[in-house]
Symmetry: C2
Subunit: 215 residues, 2 copies
DNA sequence: GCGCGAAAGTTGACACCGTCTACCGACAAT
DNA sequence: ATTGTCGGTAGACGGTGTCAACTTTCGCGC
């Protein structure tokens, strides 16, 4: 438990590393605790001394993914201009998704352990989301149109999910039959980022929808 | 023997219905073929006479989800105005996600069977995507700025994933601590739809829009 | 040094699971 | 009447998560 216990906690780290390797190799849903143990040359119960269940090791891995992701967002090129800063965060997002595809995929795997059972994982996820949220908040506040919390969530999730969709497309084989130039692939996610900016820098169409209030 | 009184293919349909029920009850990843058989009062091997594997019954269920989804999109209120038609498709999308949450969730479950193993599922998925894609294509073509195939994919996926993100937020418990009014929840997805429209009615940053005030 | 108690690791069991194989009755076509 | 296919049953195999009991290891107060 203490920092000095170094060697004692070795197996815990080894389990996480090996589990990540297995997920990369055969997929998240086919990861098994016994396989982790087998590959590490320990008994099938040894990992259970460090993780209460299969879901707990998964939650720990996903927590680290979110933490690394948050670090990447924080390490963006800062700018005093909120729009430029928001764009920089988007660029950092895209770079992370391309540099750490496995972590990125895990963050959005729908086979998550039940969230309320793994508060640490949720804390890290919300922390990463909070960074994006803050960026959106600053963006709108600088334009003199601050958002209510629920509106803020909505705009932030809009940005997040839009970017996620484009980034995911690059990972899928849906594009391979189109055999695009590598340059085009590189531009896809940034294109979406531009679209998000377009959506934000433009106030919603006031006339079209039935009722629009509370600006 | 219990359920065998009906027609020949009855068990196949019963398996699908029961599997859906189980997924709704305990989740996709905990669905088991033996449980399906047990609840139907047949032997644990009976379902295998109709589905080659667990993945095959899943693929069939997801295929139907995409088919129903495509039907819902097609049943939208049609309009000659491409922008209005696109908006109507978005409304239909949101309505489907709210009316058939289980089907909707399955369409985006990341624990999909390997796609190339289940071509029928992929055909249905691409068919549904094609509807959205066509809507985007008409939208841009009507504005006199037709898109290349790869650009079209990008814009369509941008719209899809943006809407998906907002719709998913409603299903998650991320919003419960905010205890929003039901009316606000109702508006969330439509708000995103407005944002997508805002992003599309504006040409990319390179060239300014030529006053296309169709609204 | 010693002893001890907790932690780490092992072994064994249990109840599941997917799926392969073999068997069996009904029934249709030859 | 024979044959073959189809839908269903029964059993087995290897795999899984995880509980329980056991043994080993190791840090720490004496």
């Amino acid at each position: 438990m203490t920092a000095a216990s170094g060697r004692a906690e070795d197996l815990r780290e080894a389990c996480i590393a090996q589990a990540l390797h297995i997920i990369d190799e055969i997929g998240l849903e086919r990861l098994s605790m016994r396989d982790v143990a087998r590959r590490l040359g320990v008994s099938h119960q040894a990992p259970y001394k460090h993780f209460k269940s299969r879901d707990h090791i998964l939650a720990e891995i996903i927590r680290r993914a979110f933490d690394d992701f948050a670090d990447a967002l924080r390490a963006r090129v800062r700018s005093d201009n909120p729009a430029a800063d928001f764009y920089a965060m988007g660029v950092a997002y895209i770079a992370f998704a391309q540099a750490r595809p496995l972590y990125y995929r895990l963050m959005f795997a729908s086979t998550l352990p039940e969230p309320e059972q793994h508060p640490q994982m949720m804390i890290s996820a919300r922390c990463a989301y909070g960074l994006l949220r803050d960026g959106v908040q600053v963006l709108f506040a600088a334009r003199g149109s601050p958002l209510s919390p629920s509106e803020l969530d909505l705009e932030a999730l809009f940005a997040w999910s839009s970017l996620h969709g484009s980034v995911s497309l690059l990972r899928t084989d849906a594009l391979t039959p189109l055999d695009l130039a590598p340059q085009t692939r590189q531009r896809l996610a940034h294109h979406a980022l531009d679209r998000i900016g377009a959506a934000f820098l433009l106030t919603p169409p006031a006339a079209a929808p039935p009722e629009e209030d509370a600006q």
